[in-house]
Symmetry: C2
Subunit: 360 residues, 2 copies
């Protein structure tokens, strides 16, 4: 088992990474003994892991109320939140209750936001069961639901009490979701760690083949890199924005094709190709390195071309993105491979050309 | 003009109290210059003050998007929040935008919660226009909407950037709302300041007659007392609970008769009579002082008897109240007049008798 700590003062928390952890009562006991727990998961994850997690929680001394939501991005909505809140009130959960989020990014984002706002805030534990959630969404305290006009527009920064990443859950993950999660792993290399990019290029085959040692290393290094950034800038007032590399384009893709048609990681993958292209056009990234970005994404089985939307539609969708300050477009660019930089006031034509270069 | 400061580290903020403040651009300028502002108010307040506040904000250099919600407690709901979020996204509000809450407690609670969760949190300014909001809900950072199963069940602690309490707005306040606000003023005396109770007993006539000097003093002293408690316990882990004196019974009344039939202050007034009765039965408050509590509430024109609900219905409604820890009933009692104390594990029969003594 591996162990990391995200050091954020009185909001510090551990990340446990290993196999078989989700059924281990000792993981939960410090946080849930003698408390009521709302165990939130979805209808796909429940048959696989609900019983084991519920048993471990009960063994740790908790009273457990399981709450099921629908699968997929559409569940990150008010209707699900209202359902969760109602079920928790019916179960008499109070301010000392704890939410356990068992599932992927959607479950984690929704359950985390429920914890942020239930009776003005209670504790929660992330038990991520997808690669995306293990390396990205479960770490850092970002929680949210979607609004009809934009993704993640209603949310809160709310750090978990603990993250329990059981890599054996990746065995049951569909290939497409494994690849989508790999997009965020690769992103952490591109923006922060050239050595890790080299390691990924050498091991991408093993990772897609689900070699457990390779996956454990990738999850651990990703969490470490992300945690460094979160510790330096918890509420995204500066540095943390670099984690959004590829996301401005990516969110435009997700919104443009309708949530759920492209997976988040797929949209980010293509978004990174566009952002690398933009970096090359702005002059902060060499053509060779931009090609390296695209090649690794392609080898990971991820899309490198955007959906068939007019370029102006992309621009329109990006204007309302959260990363737009005062209406001006800002982008995270690569300043060489393994280093990211935030740039504002970019010429719209450079952005148009970068989209066109990667759109069908 | 009077000025207080709520000292909460990097979440500290000023409270300005005076006449004509809401039309003064200098009040807003430090927070809104060159920013977009979502000015949230309701359909009753808008004809009275919207134009003046909007003008002052524009003079202070803000781009202003007015957003109207319905009047009344029913507006503290998801539908209103969704409407506000949609209007802010349509107006291209970003993370540097500011919300201005112009109105009473409902507007402040809803707009404050919108600020807490819009794009994971933006700043907001409270411009309370009712006595209740000026002396209570605008100070302390509690924000929330209601759930069908309980009041204020979905919310956040989110401190404002500033509170601008213009007491001249009380001129247009209906008598019933003025009295309801007085309940919280009186509460601050009961729980924290015996001298202030004496002052209120001597000046209740002037206050109900809207004597401006008396009202200014009452608002200022109330804010001071509340701010002391908030500074000592921002997130209600201990001391702050005393501000809920009368509220456990009060929330049961509000929920039992349906939100909006009793005003919050009216329910709290009767709740305080019940809590004083309970204090007398437990033995922490003399019978004379319990009579003094009831007499002042009655002289303020507030109800001292609860609605015709079965006693068991009260108990049932109190179980799901946020103040219930681990399913056990806790109450704020008076430990002599001017001092409050939190007591857990009270015998249910004492609670029943206290309700029965004040129910019709």
């Amino acid at each position: 088992m591996q162990f990391l700590r995200v050091t954020l003062g009185d909001r510090s928390y551990p990340i446990h990474i290993g196999t078989g952890l989700l059924a281990d009562a000792a993981m939960y006991a410090p946080h849930v003994a003698s408390r009521s727990v709302a165990l939130i998961t979805n209808k796909v994850v429940a048959p696989l892991y609900l019983e084991r997690v519920q048993g471990a929680l009960q063994q740790a001394g908790a009273r457990v109320a399981p709450i099921l939501i629908d699968d997929g991005e559409a569940a990150k909505a008010w209707a699900s939140l209202d359902h969760v809140m109602g079920a928790m009130l019916a179960a008499r959960c109070g301010r000392d209750s704890v939410i356990v989020a068992l599932g992927g990014g959607v479950v984690g984002d929704l359950a985390g936001f429920a914890a942020a706002v239930y009776q003005r805030g209670i504790g929660f534990i992330q038990v991520p069961t997808t690669l995306l959630a293990q390396v990205d969404s479960s770490v850092g305290g970002k929680t949210a639901i979607n609004h009809a006009r934009g993704k993640n527009m209603i949310g809160a920064f709310h750090q978990p009490l603990a993250v329990i990443a059981d890599v054996s859950t990746l065995d049951t993950l569909p290939d497409r979701e494994l690849r989508a999660g790999m997009a965020e792993v690769i992103k952490h290399g591109f923006i922060l760690d050239l050595d890790f990019v080299g390691w990924l290029e050498a091991n991408i085959g093993k990772l897609l083949g689900r070699d457990r040692d390779a996956l454990s290393h990738a999850v651990r290094r990703s969490c470490e890199l992300k945690a460094q950034v979160v510790v330096a800038d918890e509420r995204e007032t500066g540095l943390r924005a670099i984690l959004n590399f590829g996301h401005t384009f990516g969110h435009a893709i997700e919104t443009g094709v309708g949530y759920g048609n492209w997976l988040h990681g797929e949209a980010v993958a293509t978004g990174m190709v566009m952002a690398a292209e933009l970096s090359a056009r702005v002059g902060t990234l060499g053509r060779d390195d931009a090609a390296r970005v695209k090649a690794l994404i392609e080898r990971a089985g991820l899309p490198v071309r955007g959906p068939a939307l007019p370029v102006e539609k992309y621009l329109e969708l990006m204007q309302v993105d959260k990363k737009a300050a005062g209406g001006k477009l800002r982008f995270i660019l690569l300043d060489g491979l393994g280093r990211a930089v935030l740039r504002g006031n970019l010429a719209a034509d450079l952005v148009r050309e970068s989209i066109a270069a990667s759109a069908p």
